[in-house]
């Protein structure tokens, strides 16, 4: 859920990069950290093993000034893709505002991708959320490998739900499509929060307090998140 800090005029939005193991989630963040040169970025925090496998999560904070009057701080997280870290994934998903689901374009990883996608839905349910409420973007990564799965098949497999999601081809290692994906996720979030703004935000002369956004009508489980927090 978004956190709004009136004193610092800051909105925090949490985007989680989700996907199967070794699909390129951490690479996405590393590339973003390189690509975004402006000053408003934090350090990339990566808790990884020696083999560069994400152990807990990666974290990167990026700021924009897109929403009027506020600095919007996007906090990017990745989850460990390996199946055994499901509890960690559930934890990282807590309070998520948007999701980037990274799909490995390798044929052999297709089943893993699908499994990860269903795992994402299950974990969202654990957090009293669902893909209907949480804006998400699909990123078809590793498009540079030979015999990458065709896009129409990937769309058929991952983007055939009632609501079409934005999908991007990418090669995270080279940076292609990475920023586009993040931009799309940010747009989804900004559109969502600018459509259903907190009535308190409009006053501009609010007392200094840091509060969580009250639950919207369509997002009744936010209170659960609050309670947990």
């Amino acid at each position: 859920m978004a956190f709004i800090n009136y004193s610092s005029r800051e909105i925090q939005l949490k985007i989680v990069y989700y996907g199967a193991a070794l699909c390129g989630k951490t690479t996405n963040l590393v590339t973003l950290h390189k690509q975004i040169t402006h000053a408003q970025k934090g350090e990339l925090v990566s808790l990884a093993t020696d083999a560069d496998r994400t152990l807990f999560f990666d974290f990167l904070s990026l700021n924009t000034k897109t929403l009027p009057g506020f600095t919007t701080r996007f906090q990017l997280y990745t989850v460990p893709g390996q199946a055994i870290y499901n509890t960690t994934r559930q934890l990282v998903l807590k309070g998520v505002d948007g999701i980037v689901f990274v799909v490995d374009s390798h044929w052999d990883k297709m089943a893993d991708n699908v499994e990860s996608f269903s795992n994402l839905q299950e974990n969202l349910i654990e957090n009293h959320l669902s893909l209907v409420q949480i804006p998400y973007v699909l990123q078809y990564n590793k498009r540079d490998i030979p015999n990458a799965a065709p896009i129409n098949y990937l769309e058929f497999s991952f983007n055939n739900r009632a609501n079409r999601a934005l999908a991007f081809e990418s090669v995270a290692s080279t940076g292609s499509g990475v920023l586009e994906t993040l931009n799309a996720a940010a747009r989804l979030l900004l559109a969502k929060y600018s459509k259903t703004p907190n009535a308190n935000v409009t006053g501009m002369s609010q007392p200094n307090l840091s509060v969580a956004v009250p639950p919207s009508e369509e997002n009744p489980q936010v209170p659960a998140g609050n309670a947990a927090a």
């Binding site: 506020f70 044929w107 499994e115 799965a149 058929f156 983007n159 009632a162 609501n163 931009n183 989804l188």
Partner: protein, 640 residues
């Protein structure tokens, strides 16, 4: 979706490789050697298609066996123990053999919200902003001392070209100076290298349109035409101007009124005259005149053929125009005062010109008849070559005109009251507007109606909204579709429904003021909320809303800027600029940008309100310009 009864052909060899060797009748290599492995067998599409989204294709051996021709597998009895085994087929080989149409997405899928797609990319914007900031900083270090500064140039801006120009043209090669304006410009101090210290007076845009539409030619004296030629070549900077919807403000309205109301008598005979005799009337029935401020004569002037068939249909004469005055590098209130003084001086200077204007205007307005059209002709002849080109104005339906004109005029419009002759008899409007006809239950022509018509006939239609519609119509030439109304600044869902009798299409519901500014729908926002919100836009340092009288209503300005001064300055600046600008372009401008290296002033106005936005950017993002215009229109309508 896909043919459930269809089959997908897969090579036997591919399937055999997935089977346990024990079930094969012979060794796999032998099948491959004798070529039988290449034989294809058909598996039911239904069996496979449903599994594709799972990222794998699996089936039991039992499911596969019936599809194998004899000779490839052991007898079923001998492999009974293997039958329940799950065989995983290679996904790539299977998917590549599936007809693409079977992998189509569900037809009822809801697409991504257009607002998301159209939204600017936050991070890209951020990067671009930083790059611009860096560039600006670099440029500031290279600022040339003022003594070396180049002379100010009169840079006309052509809206049409501006719309296409992606990259804001910095400094066009060489622009000749306009006598009077150039003088004024030269008095301005120099500008920083990157940002041309230019007095981009209003201009140009219309140039192209003017040539076609014609209000200008007669008015322009010799020297002016020279400047025009230069303007024609100049690419238009910035995209912000492309979004100038509310354009035709002040002068437009007055001109509209003038022809229709002030000179009602002449039109009547003219109007009735043309009816019997088709050919001659063409001149006199140059109907569009009243509606769009004397576009006719110009039209005739611009093109050689014009003299005969004056009836240029709806010419979008009032192209949006934006005047840009570049400030000095150090900018700020000092600049403003200097500019104000300058503008005042220019007012005096252009007094002679403006003195001519009325007469010209009158001739244009009241003299639709032939004799007067000939007057301007020689002037046009003196216009340099580039101007004789046909204007790039999109003329709605020229071919329709002759036939339409030859028809009996009174027939088309069942207007209840003495509507200006143009609106009644405008034949060209018929074909264009028939689409609108069914919309309004009152049955009048949206492309010819006047403000009064709208106010009288449309429930809850305020004068401001009606004016906004008429201005927008003047800008675009004519409404082609009912949906065009949705682009009218300040239009609301309710207003659209009242106008057309039907709600707007779902994907084009106009945003209310609240939605536009990100307030909850039900919240009753005040003017202060509006200016506060705008002041919170990126790079915006202040925003003030004021009345046309020069009195401030609400808003804040950055430190070091005198709010009262800037508010008082805005109307006078517009007045000064438009005094001469109207001569050049045939219309006033209602947007003005005074860029500088510090705070840039973005001034917008309509009939009764001024919105002044102070930004660090010399060029506000297009969407912000658009929102500013809509806000202004919406506030006026609300006040109304």
């Amino acid at each position: 979706m896909g043919a459930p009864g269809g089959r997908i052909n897969l090579p036997i060899g591919m399937i055999l490789r997935c089977l346990p060797p024990e079930v094969l009748a012979d060794e796999l290599s032998k099948f491959e050697a004798n070529g039988t492995a290449a034989t294809e067998i058909g598996l039911p599409m239904q069996m496979i298609l449903g599994q594709l989204p799972s990222g794998k294709v699996e089936m039991t051996l039992q499911d596969l066996v019936p599809h194998f021709p004899p000779g490839y597998l052991q007898p079923t009895e001998s492999i009974a123990s293997y039958l329940p085994n799950i065989i995983s087929l290679p996904l790539m080989d299977v998917v590549m053999r599936i007809p693409p149409d079977l992998l189509a997405l569900r037809p009822d899928q809801k697409d991504v919200d257009a607002s998301v797609i159209n939204m600017a990319d936050p991070f890209t914007e951020e990067i671009l902003r930083e790059q611009a900031e860096t560039a600006r900083r670099q440029s500031q270090t290279n600022i040339i001392d003022e003594s070396q500064a180049p002379q100010e140039e009169f840079v006309p801006r052509d809206e049409a070209t501006m719309a296409k120009a992606v990259v804001p043209p910095r400094r066009p090669a060489a622009e000749p100076l306009v006598p009077s304006r150039a003088m004024a410009a030269t008095t301005l101090t120099a500008a920083p290298p990157p940002m041309p210290p230019v007095i981009k007076l209003p201009t140009p845009t219309p140039m192209s349109s003017l040539r076609g539409s014609g209000a200008v030619p007669p008015v322009i004296p010799g020297p002016t035409s020279r400047s025009l030629s230069s303007s024609g070549q100049i690419p238009a900077p910035t995209r912000s101007t492309t979004a100038l919807p509310t354009r035709p403000q002040g002068p437009v309205t007055t001109q509209i009124d003038a022809p229709s109301s002030s000179a009602p008598v002449p039109p009547v005979p003219r109007h009735t005259g043309p009816i019997p005799a088709p050919p001659p009337p063409r001149h006199t029935t140059s109907l569009p005149v009243p509606r769009r401020t004397g576009s006719i004569p110009a039209a005739g002037l611009a093109s050689p053929s014009v003299t005969a068939p004056a009836p240029q249909a709806p010419l979008p004469v009032e192209k949006p125009v934006e005047a840009v005055v570049a400030g000095t590098p150090d900018s700020g209130a000092d600049d403003l005062q200097r500019l104000a003084a300058l503008a005042m001086a220019q007012m005096g200077e252009s007094g002679d010109l403006s003195a001519e204007a009325p007469t010209k205007a009158e001739s244009v307005v009241s003299a639709a008849p032939e004799p007067k059209i000939e007057e301007p002709a020689p002037v046009i002849a003196s216009v340099p070559a580039p101007f004789s080109q046909p204007p790039p104005i999109p003329i709605p339906a020229p071919p329709v005109l002759p036939t339409a004109i030859s028809e009996p005029l009174p027939q088309p419009i069942p207007t209840p009251e003495p509507i200006p002759s143009s609106s009644v008899a405008h034949p060209a409007a018929e074909p264009e507007t028939h689409a609108e006809a069914p919309a309004a239950s009152v049955a009048f022509n949206l492309n010819t109606c006047t403000v009064e018509d709208l106010v009288k006939n449309i429930p809850d239609c305020s004068t401001a909204l009606a004016e906004s519609i008429i201005h927008y119509r003047a800008k675009i030439g004519s409404f082609k579709r009912l949906e065009d109304l949705l682009d009218v600044p300040g239009i609301t869902k309710e207003a659209y429904t009242n106008l057309t009798g039907e709600p707007p299409p779902n994907n084009r519901i106009p945003l209310s003021l609240n939605e536009l500014l990100g307030f909850p729908k039900e919240q009753n926002i005040s003017l202060k909320d509006v200016t506060d919100r705008i002041a919170c836009w990126p790079d915006v340092t202040g925003c003030v809303l004021s009345q046309s009288s020069g009195l401030s209503l609400v808003g804040t300005v950055p430190e070091g800027v005198d709010k009262a001064a800037i508010v008082a300055f805005a109307p006078r600046m517009f007045e000064a600029i438009n005094k001469s600008f109207a001569e050049v372009s045939g219309q006033d401008t209602d947007a003005l940008v005074i860029p500088s290296s510090g705070t840039s002033f973005h001034l917008f106005r309509n009939k009764d309100l001024y919105l002044i936005i102070m930004s660090r950017l010399p060029q506000m993002p297009e969407r912000h310009v658009k929102v500013a215009r809509f806000v202004l229109a919406a506030l006026s309508i609300r006040r109304d």
